[in-house]
Amino acid sequence: MSKRKPYVRELPIDWWLKNAFYTKYMIREGSSLFITLYSLILAWGVFRLSQGEAAFNAWMAALHHPFSIILHLIALALALYHTVTWFSLAPKAIALWIKGKRLPDKFIIAGHYGAFVVVSIFCLIIITL
C-alpha cells in the first residue's frame, strides 16, 4: 500500500505581507485606490464647472482645505510610485531588436524618465501661461 500522502499548504490570506516583494506589489496595486479618488475629484470638478462659476469656485475652495492637501500629498507619493514601477516594467513588453541585439532595458527606462521630466515641466509651464 502506498504511504504517499502529499501535504498541501494553505496560502495565508495575508500572503502579501509576508514578503517585502509582495508587499511592494500590493502597494503598487493599491496606488490605484488613490488615483481613482483623484479622478473622482476631477470628475466632480467637471460637474461643478458645468453648474456655473459659484459652484466651480466652491470646488476650488474645497481643494484648499488642509485635509485635501494631505490627501493629495499621499496621492502624489503613490502616483510617483506607480510611475517608477511602471517605467521599470515597461521594457518587458517591448522587444526592440537593433542589429541583432535586443535594445537594453536601461535605455528604454531612461527614455521614459526623460519624457516624464519633459512632460511634467511642459505641464507646469503651460498652466501658468
Binding site: S32, L63, I69, W86, H112, I127
Partner: protein, 125 residues
C-alpha cells in the same frame, strides 16, 4: 495519460481591458503626478496663482472640442487602469465569491464615470 484529442480552449476577453489598462497606466505614469501636484498642492498652497485655473479659463478650455477631449481622457482613462487593478487585487486578497459581479461593478464603475464626464462636457458645449 497522453491526451491525443485536442483540448478545447476558451478565448479570454481580457485583451480589451488590458489594452485600456495599459493606455490608462501609461497616461497615469506620465501625467498624474504633475496633475496632482498642480491641482491638489501647488494651487491650494498658493505657489501657483489660482487665477491660472479660474472658472473662465477652465470653462473656455473645456468647451472647446479639443479641450473637452483632453479633459475626458485625463479624467476617465486612468479609471480604466485603476479599476482593472482593483478588480485583480480583489482576487489577490482572496475574495473569490462573485467574480462576475465584481467585474461588472469594477468596469461598470469606470464606464459610468466616463459617461458622466462625457455627458457633462457635451452639455457645456
Amino acid at each position: 495519460m497522453s491526451n491525443t484529442t485536442e483540448k478545447t480552449y476558451t478565448r479570454s476577453h481580457e485583451p480589451i481591458f488590458w489594452g485600456l489598462f495599459g493606455a490608462g497606466g501609461m497616461l497615469t505614469a506620465f501625467l498624474t503626478p504633475v496633475m496632482i501636484l498642480i491641482t491638489g498642492i501647488l494651487i491650494p498652497l498658493g505657489l501657483i496663482d489660482s487665477k491660472h485655473l479660474s472658472y473662465e479659463k477652465v470653462h473656455l478650455f473645456a468647451t472647446s472640442w479639443y479641450g473637452a477631449a483632453i479633459v475626458l481622457v485625463l479624467v476617465a482613462l486612468p479609471l480604466w487602469h485603476t479599476l482593472h487593478r482593483i478588480y485583480h487585487a480583489l482576487h489577490d486578497l482572496g475574495i473569490k465569491r462573485g467574480r462576475d459581479l465584481q467585474q461588472v461593478f469594477c468596469y461598470g464603475f469606470a464606464f459610468a464615470v466616463s459617461i458622466f464626464v462625457f455627458t457633462l462636457l457635451l452639455q457645456m458645449f
